[in-house]
Amino acid sequence: MLRITCPHCGPRDEIEFRYRGDASLSRPGPEDDAKAFQRYAYERENPAGMHLEWWLHVGGCRRALKLQRDTASHVIGGAGEP
């Protein structure tokens, strides 16, 4: 079970959070074409190792946090605000 330290609420169980995926992606803008959005919507680096990701603390402060987590070991490197 992950214990995620929310920058606002402190360490909490993973069930309080909703995962929202790769935080290294940034959404293309109004001027970008379908190809850019295709990459954004579908293509992932999906590393086995440190991964920067979004988590919403829906069961706590309802704030989003960016988490550095090792997807292989679940060691958490750190959490910060957007």
């Binding site: 606002h8 609420c9 169980d13 069930i15 309080e16 069961g59 706590g60 402060c61 309802r62 704030r63």
Partner: protein, 210 residues
């Protein structure tokens, strides 16, 4: 037309009386109701909000803290639940009056959204209160950690809960925990409380506006 009377909005705890085991330390369970507003700071208005809140006499505690807890009639309890976000709770008054008062006092410094009718409030008190809540609450409720000025949002029995202490500082031996859950979950949350307190036993008190 008769005057509108606010109801609990859910079925309520079982009738007052004893519940569960006949233990030495039964907890007290009570449902109560509150007016409430969510106060959300507008960008760049922190200073203005502090000023406006001071004018209203409204405490704005830090994240994870509660303030203003008092027994005086009309007192407001404010919980810091997220950065720049507070939940202010007060005893029920005329429909909409509390929200209007806070909103007009804070004006443009924050958005004020009325949410009190959407909350069902419970208190769990007594020496065994921690033991009872530990059957669902994943937070550390040890008095050194969850003090009488702590507030938190968490999840208990799959239900979102806002949790704070209603007792005065120093009452570590017999804490009073207040829990607010979304109204539509109230019946299920009551089921959790009854199940969790069956082992220690509980005394159910009549629902209250206080």
């Amino acid at each position: 037309m008769s005057k509108p009377e606010r109801g609990l909005g859910w079925g309520g705890l079982p009738p007052p009386g004893h519940h569960g085991a006949l233990g030495r330390d039964p907890v007290k369970l009570q449902a109560f109701m509150r007016d409430a507003v969510e106060v959300r700071l507008a960008p760049g208005m922190a200073e203005a909000l502090r000023h406006a809140a001071a004018g209203l006499g409204l405490a704005l505690p830090g994240m994870g803290e509660s303030a203003g807890t008092g027994s005086a009639t009309g007192a407001v309890t404010t919980l810091g639940l997220a950065p720049g976000e507070w939940l202010a709770l007060a005893r029920p008054e005329e429909p909409g009056a509390f929200a209007r008062r806070i909103a007009s006092g804070l004006e443009a410094a924050a958005s004020v959204v009325e949410t009190g009718h959407g909350l069902a409030c419970f208190s769990v008190s007594g020496r065994a209160a921690r033991e009872v809540l530990a059957k669902g609450c994943r937070l550390d409720l040890h008095p050194a950690v969850f003090t009488s000025s702590t507030a938190a949002r968490t999840v208990i029995a799959q239900i979102p809960v806002t949790l704070w202490r209603k007792d005065e500082a120093g009452a570590a031996d017999s804490p009073v925990f207040a829990l607010a859950v979304p109204l539509t979950f109230a019946q299920s949350f009551a089921h959790f409380l009854l199940g969790a307190s069956a082992g220690t036993g509980a005394e159910i008190l009549p629902a209250s506006k206080d």
